[in-house]
Symmetry: D3
Subunit: 134 residues, 6 copies
Amino acid sequence: MRVCRRATFNSAHRLYRKDWSDEKNQEIFGKCNNKNYHGHNYTLEVWVSGKVNEETGYLIDLKIVKDLIKDEIIERFDHRNLNLDCIEFENLNPTAENIVMVSWNLLRSKLDKSFGLSIKLWETENNIVEYDGN
Amino acid sequence: MRVCRRATFNSAHRLYRKDWSDEKNQEIFGKCNNKNYHGHNYTLEVWVSGKVNEETGYLIDLKIVKDLIKDEIIERFDHRNLNLDCIEFENLNPTAENIVMVSWNLLRSKLDKSFGLSIKLWETENNIVEYDGN
Amino acid sequence: MRVCRRATFNSAHRLYRKDWSDEKNQEIFGKCNNKNYHGHNYTLEVWVSGKVNEETGYLIDLKIVKDLIKDEIIERFDHRNLNLDCIEFENLNPTAENIVMVSWNLLRSKLDKSFGLSIKLWETENNIVEYDGN
Amino acid sequence: MRVCRRATFNSAHRLYRKDWSDEKNQEIFGKCNNKNYHGHNYTLEVWVSGKVNEETGYLIDLKIVKDLIKDEIIERFDHRNLNLDCIEFENLNPTAENIVMVSWNLLRSKLDKSFGLSIKLWETENNIVEYDGN
Amino acid sequence: MRVCRRATFNSAHRLYRKDWSDEKNQEIFGKCNNKNYHGHNYTLEVWVSGKVNEETGYLIDLKIVKDLIKDEIIERFDHRNLNLDCIEFENLNPTAENIVMVSWNLLRSKLDKSFGLSIKLWETENNIVEYDGN
Amino acid sequence: MRVCRRATFNSAHRLYRKDWSDEKNQEIFGKCNNKNYHGHNYTLEVWVSGKVNEETGYLIDLKIVKDLIKDEIIERFDHRNLNLDCIEFENLNPTAENIVMVSWNLLRSKLDKSFGLSIKLWETENNIVEYDGN
């Protein structure tokens, strides 16, 4: 059994490595490397797995997941520039893959160990990434 | 290989345990405990897994799945009050988790044993639950 | 120029007139007349028309519209039974048409007269209603 | 009769007036004023009205509209910072209202005068703006 | 006030005029002219305008609109080849514009004259057409 | 970790086996057997699994997946009649199950062996199929 809470956040970013030349950044990341940044409406699905509590009928109260997403993800990344405003990406390229790994780790560290965790992130309606810790 | 049929139904419900005090119900279930009920447009995805029949090219004729959903789920829950009209929830709190388990059991009992079954239920566009029997 | 804020709310309702016999209610409203209620996830689009303020570049700050929807619509109708919990429908059948008219009047009375107002309500993904005061 | 072509673009922006103090920008635009920018997946619907050509059965070949959107909107705004990279917003606050007016003017100047034009822009799934030149 | 019923149908078609050469058909209609046809999932929104009946609270019972769409549109066009199976397109190129005009006329002729009618057709998620008789 | 690229294509098809009688085809495939074909807007999600490259932060550059989908799927199936124009279905019934298996094999043969592959295909908004090679 898995339950999910969906949320969205809006961020600027740029695909870029400080330790690469401008030419190499441009060659590998193309238009995603625009030096003044571009941005996305990210949609996040947070899936929590476990057993249903027979008393409440909840696997987990989704309000807990909603608040967790708010505290750990929305407050950090929404209306931010991921490269400039977020310490998590100070030395990490904010690709969708890295955003989803960072987000998973942030949520994992606050979620009770009895639950499994898998998350899914839409960067655009055509680009999606999914991560469960492996 | 898995195939899926999607359907929707509209029901009223209330999160509530008869054997709890009003105070405890309110504390645990909050606004979902509103004594006069509220409701949802539920969206259900029914995923059937198995081998493709080489003759027909079907894993299963989705019309069979459509009819199964109609007979077992829509006829039971659509335009109903889950707490008052549905014997399945007479003594079971109609959380999304319990609805999905009840639905899975109803579908499982009518679906040929050679097929696997997993179902996904949207309570709102932000709250989702998935169940495969475990 | 028009700007829109979208919101959702979840309510129970029943199509029913107290001054009609049960038979007539059933004949006219069919399964929507289920005596124990059913429910929906309503999606509301609130469209405000007017001139763009050249200083701010806003027609209206959408946070004002978001708060207006919260105060006038969400607080009143979300997680409520429209027939039993909402004085607006004490003597008014809560059809999508009547919900949209009531909502328009509630929003209109609080929105500055310099703005035009039109609202759109999804009862299901297939049933929609739109109202602009006429 | 109206026909529509939908497209998307991803941009960074910041709501900000150079001629206002930081305090005033923050007071009026709040989190949308984040100095390092944030961003969106913008979805654009371009609606062209007119008469259907009886020979082709087209009001306008939508490939013309698709190319027009690509040349005038996507090439200008996609993977750009609207404030820093786009001359159109050098002295214009890139609110959704101003983006839609700028886009309408860009499209209008290239679209044959025999056609009417109305455009709709989603900044997020909850914030929308529509403009037809008035 | 306007109310809407949404429906879908799946058809094959080809953009083609019998009285044009193959070369001209190819030049004007490109890949949409593929001689063996291609196809779409069409989504139709049927919007009916009028006054709300104070007794029922309905502008029109949407079941009437649902049945009208089924009888006039789904039965005619769903799982059909518009060019070969549908007399309406025997001598009419099945562009989205022509499909929407034919559909509007079919629905208009069966809908009580006291109602207004406007319809919207999605050929793909990016190509849309709207028609109200003008 | 999995990443996904979404794409769409529009095709005509007919469910039909040459080696069956017309009666048997009609009995098994019903309206999907319409002799002049019908069609769909197919939506395809291509999910690639593997390890994230620590240098780029990409599991795979999604532009590679986009181009692969274009070369192997869109060029072959978009604006085509699957039964008549596509050698892959010359002797294979183009059910969603068979389309997804053919597509998986086409993509698998061109995708580096270090990656896992799973694909999901929507035939309509209600009919979906998923395949990962098993």
